[in-house]
């Protein structure tokens, strides 16, 4: 049954965007857990070592699984290595894109920039566009009408979420935008967060990417095989499912329009394999509150501020035991959200969010 009640306007040019600005939710001051400058400085300290090690391991695993896939191509056994390759390519690239976009993975700037561009291509996010959209996501996290990176809008569109198990929606919309950018234009929403001086970079990269995809198609035609695309391009889709699982834990089902990351983000405990693939973004409250802390220091930061945060979810399973029913309910009732309990000794939120800017359905 289609939802027929009031509907919020998540568009960056919509009525809720205006309401959010009027209500003081734009570029607002957010709650921050108390932590001493000296201690925070220790956590923020950068180094190249952890990311060099992890990146070497990541590319090593990509080469190994991809090589095994090529060697076994033509037999059903190839499914196994390609399943691994796909997750490494289409899901692990998300966290590399993210961390390098913040410039926190490596101490050395060019290393962040190189890996950022490679991972952007793998996860199919145009690097300049997404750098700016993620900047906005950090300014206005889960604020309706301002955040361009909403996990799940309300009423929840379950079909759209399912389509992204294999990144269908992302890739189809992404290609549409890529063609637009290659033609030298950005759309009206993108124009709200991408400064003029950055646009030539957007157009240039879009053209390079289209050329790269054309080369992959050409390789497929020349070899009469889909194998080249199995290695470059398609894994963005067939390996995207884990990225979706991880990504949904960040904010789905939680409150909107609240200036406290403890209430709109989740920290979820994960096993070391998941933490390698996700580069510790499971510590999501910590990341949003202190985006200058590199991924490898987030577990230590968690220990220091956890007394001031809601209880972390003990596993991915526990997080989804909450997310699935919450999202299904939000499909029918967009006013529903999971209210996170702050521990009794936590500092309360002293910044009052403004009221919701509900707008009538058309």
């Amino acid at each position: 049954m289609a939802f027929t009640g009031t509907r919020r306007d998540y568009g960056l040019l919509g009525l809720d965007a205006k309401a959010a600005v009027e209500n003081g939710l734009a570029s607002a001051k957010w709650y921050s857990c108390p932590i001493g400058r000296k201690e925070l400085k220790e956590f923020m300290r950068r180094s190249d070592g952890p990311a060099l090690r992890d990146t070497a391991l990541w590319f090593g695993l990509l080469a190994f699984s991809g090589g095994a896939g090529v060697a076994l191509w033509g037999s059903w056994w190839a499914v196994l290595p390609f399943a691994v390759y796909g997750v490494l390519y289409g899901s692990a690239s998300d966290s590399r894109w993210h961390e390098c976009g913040h410039g926190t993975a490596f101490k050395t700037r060019w290393m962040n920039d190189v890996l950022y561009n490679v991972a952007s291509f793998m996860v199919f996010r145009e690097p300049t566009i997404w750098r700016w959209s993620h900047t906005r996501h950090h300014t206005d996290t889960v604020i309706v009408g301002l955040d361009p990176e909403f996990n799940v809008m309300r009423p929840a569109d379950v079909l759209a979420i399912l389509l992204n198990v294999f990144a269908f929606k992302n890739v189809v919309l992404g290609f549409k935008q890529l063609v637009l950018h290659a033609s030298g234009r950005v759309d009206a929403e993108e124009a709200t967060f991408i400064p003029d001086m950055e646009r030539p970079k957007v157009f240039r990269t879009a053209r390079i990417w289209l050329a790269l995809f054309a080369l992959v198609v050409l390789a497929c035609v020349l070899t009469h095989s889909v194998l080249p695309a199995m290695l470059i391009g398609l894994p963005t889709m067939y390996g995207a499912w884990l990225q979706l699982l991880f990504g949904l834990t960040q904010h789905a089902g939680l409150d909107e329009d609240v200036l406290d990351h403890r209430l709109n983000s989740r920290t979820v405990m994960m096993n070391p394999v998941f933490r390698f693939l996700y580069w510790n973004m499971n510590y999501h409250i910590e990341h949003h509150m202190f985006p200058m802390v590199p991924y490898h220091a987030l577990p230590r930061l968690h220990e220091v501020i956890k007394h001031d945060c809601p209880k972390p979810y003990p596993s991915l399973y526990a997080a989804f035991a909450e997310i699935i029913p919450a999202v299904l309910r939000q499909a029918k009732d967009p006013t529903y959200f999971v209210r996170r309990e702050l521990p009794s000794r936590a500092k309360p939120l002293d910044l009052q969010p403004a009221g919701p800017g509900m707008v009538a359905a058309e």
Partner: protein, 103 residues
């Protein structure tokens, strides 16, 4: 020229930054790894977040909000999301005191 006292030299660790307010103006004072001092406007040119909460690495200051970076010696913005340079101010040290020419 309007030299004003910002702080004592030992109030800022090496490779760190501190906030200095004067009237309704706010500045960031930097102590570089080679023991020199610098001063810039306090607020990031991207979204007016105070840089004194940021991270100093060698000669760059990283903004705490979106990790935008500036070279604090000349205020140069080092890439997205910071596109506008930071204003810098002359600094001198006398008798263990950091003085800033706030102009």
């Amino acid at each position: 020229m309007a030299w004003v006292r910002a702080c004592a030299t030992d109030e800022i660790d090496e490779e760190d930054v501190a906030r200095f307010d004067q009237g309704d103006r706010t500045f960031a004072i930097y102590h570089s790894p080679e023991d020199a001092f610098y001063a810039t406007d306090g607020l990031c040119t991207h979204q007016a977040i105070h840089l004194a909460d940021g991270l100093v690495m060698d000669h760059t200051i990283e903004c705490p909000k979106h990790n935008g970076r500036f070279d604090y010696r000349d205020g140069k913005a080092l890439g997205a999301p910071v596109c506008v340079n930071l204003r810098t101010y002359p600094v001198k040290v006398e008798d263990g005191v950091v003085l800033v020419d706030v102009g």
